[in-house]
Symmetry: C2
Subunit: 427 residues, 2 copies
């Protein structure tokens, strides 16, 4: 089925600001609460949020096989379960409906007022009920940096790293949408040179610049997904800030991987950009040497050229871009991640979230965490308001943005923006 929604010549009758992340070629999916306090599934064009529940009630999806309340739900899980064919039909229909040449909704003022909201008047929610959340560790540059900063520089990458996309389970309950503030966590840690740990507010709260993909129902327990089918099970992508407390992370690394170091919060951008929308931005991934096992062997273009950027906004409302990097640097593609994840028969469901791990580029201004940017806190960053940062301070807002651009076309993710608050005080 052609992805007619990707037609770059199409314009919408909704005005789209120059350099918007959300031209009519994007058509991402999300969940929001309208100003009338109704929760609905929707999409976005320019600065307009579009109520797809209302569109469905007004029969604008006629001819597409959908359950009656498909878009009048508070998560996208059921829609995602319906599979790629349905995603494409719905996205194509939305593109046609908002095409500047289509009068159907454009010229129906009554319907427009029911369906279209200013994004300033809605409140974005988590787009999916996340059954399970996995975080991978797929950026070679990041893994090498961490190895050098934390461990023995000569053993920067563990022996298994080049043979499989290394990952670990995260906590679904920790995932929040952009805009929800996060409290500095109370943590155990072992001060340098000491043998007795301390307990108190983390002194090393950090962001991690990541992307994540959202899956559909992929398999039954016991069954693996072959690499040539894995792509069909990936619905779309979001930006992610995997908040990390580096002091307890080091302390926890003495036994298993990150636990309380990560599960106090992970923030994601609220609009899921579909893989269909990202199709024009495919790019070849890094050369994989040694060659992966046959079950992970992949040819062709399976990375994506997505510009990523992190800024810190202080309480003085002054913004500083601290990192610019690109998703294309990840060593293990999303397809390889998903294939490996199910290679042992692990069950993957609609709405599961899989993070890339911190994405760092090759140069020091492209590192994806404060830990790397300040090289373990040794070289603070100077912000535009004249203050310095080794890690994130109370009151700082960390903003991650991401967008693709080529031949004048731009598809973006919006942002994931999260303010760090002081430790929670129990009443």
């Amino acid at each position: 089925m052609p992805i007619s929604a990707n037609n770059t010549n199409r314009k919408s009758w909704i005005e789209v600001p120059a350099d918007s992340d959300f031209p009519i070629q994007n058509i991402p999916f999300g969940v929001f609460i309208t100003k009338d306090d109704v929760i609905t599934i929707g999409t976005r064009i320019g600065d307009c949020a579009i109520d797809m529940g209302a569109l469905q009630q007004l029969n604008y999806f006629e001819g597409i096989e959908l359950t009656d309340d498909m878009f009048m739900q508070d998560t996208l899980n059921d829609f995602i379960s319906d599979g790629k064919k349905t995603w494409r039909l719905v996205r194509n229909r939305l593109a046609e409906l908002f095409d500047e040449t289509n009068p159907k909704l454009r010229d129906n003022k009554e319907h427009r007022e029911i369906v279209i909201f200013d994004v300033k008047d809605i409140e974005m929610q988590l787009p999916v009920l996340i059954g399970d959340y996995t975080d991978f560790y797929t950026s070679k540059e990041h893994a090498i940096n961490i190895g050098k900063i934390i461990n023995n520089p000569e053993k920067a990458l563990p022996l298994n790293w080049f043979h499989m996309p290394v990952g670990y389970h995260g906590r679904s309950s920790s995932i929040i949408p952009s805009g929800i503030p996060v409290h500095r966590p109370m943590v155990q840690s072992l001060p340098n040179g000491e043998t007795t740990p301390v307990f108190g507010p983390s002194r090393m709260v950090d962001f991690e610049l990541e992307t994540a993909f959202i899956t559909t129902d992929a398999n039954i327990m016991g069954e693996n997904i072959p690499i040539n089918e894995a792509e069909d099970y990936i619905f779309g992508m979001v930006l992610m800030n995997d908040w990390s407390a580096r002091d307890i992370q080091k302390w926890e690394s003495l036994s298993f991987g990150p636990f309380l170091a990560k599960n106090f919060a992970t923030s994601i951008s609220a609009w899921i950009v579909t893989m269909d929308a990202l199709e024009p931005f495919r790019i070849k991934g890094p050369n994989q040497d040694p060659a992966p096992f046959p079950y992970l062997l992949l040819k062709g273009k399976h990375n994506f050229d997505i510009n990523l950027e992190v800024s810190i906004q202080t309480e003085k409302a002054i913004n500083t871009i601290v990192s610019k990097t690109n998703f294309k640097y990840i060593y293990w593609s999303m397809i390889q991640q998903l294939t490996h994840h199910t290679s042992n028969g692990c069950r993957v469901n609609s709405g599961d979230l899989m993070g890339s791990g911190t994405i760092s580029g090759p140069t020091p201004d492209s590192f994806g965490s404060m830990l790397e940017l300040t090289w373990g806190g040794k070289t603070p960053i100077l912000l535009n308001d004249g203050t310095e940062r080794k890690f994130i301070s109370d009151g700082d807002t960390v903003i991650i943005k991401g967008f693709c651009k080529n031949n004048g076309a731009r598809i973006g993710f919006g942002e994931v923006s999260t303010k760090l608050l002081p430790p929670f005080l129990r009443k």
Copy 2:
């Protein structure tokens, strides 16, 4: 509120076999499908499963504030969300209803036929929708054994182990009820002495003898649970077999903790035994030295005297008990586990599952995994059918049982029984 359901003098008009795990003093909660293909919440007395959805429709919970469809659901999450007071009211009511002196249901043949099923005629389901699953590592004997077998014997326990209940996130989608078979996973591993990994069926599939507790909604994100309140958020316990593939577990331990080594399957017993029912079996835990941080400091009896036993049944249907141990050996109590888990503000919801980690006792016949029982595969176990095992073979069924007993009273969990099948073959 008194726990009248625990009255040891009470007898039921339902016949209870001698040494049953389910006398009228137990009243566990579960979810099952009846022979009429109806899914319901229920309880069990002796060998009878009791349909609580039907009981509610027939008004037997009159006077207890419950939503209309509380027990006509396919998970216990909403009931658990209602909190300890409701759990206790419902359990007390069930005890009264099935008391041999109460004629109300006993003498109503029509109602009895609607409400009571032979356990052979029902199919147990997962009792809760598990939002998040955490596995702790709380048995000192187990941790020391693993340290000796896997790592440097001189560093058997990581430095952080005595300061906090070490844990890691598991995968909710991997959790299945007793009775569902498990396929031997395909895994990467690094053969001893080699530098290049191989991929194929795991050669070291193992069980882990564990218990797990199920929580209710405990906090909002950012908020911690003080140790003196944590007990209120624990609904009950199940037995758990945390299936493990030791070859990939070793390979994965070079980076983060267990991932594919564990997420192919974790089996739990289907009836949740409430903390109220376990109340008479409280016992003091091991002495904690060094003293825990104040936020984890606990006085009184917070462990439980629960006998645990693992047997392997081969395809010849011959059974061999391979381990007998006790829950009382865990070093960090469930209360300390939950308190630590939320100490950084991590959100805990109704239906979350938290495992104890493998429970090993002090003697070699009380170890909770084949890895320990055969000391890394060095000393195979002789089974009663004359065959030997280093790990679990295809066709073996691993059965974990657990029960409490004192002063003639017995409260049990039933069992978690899981057959290991050969690797899944894709059609």
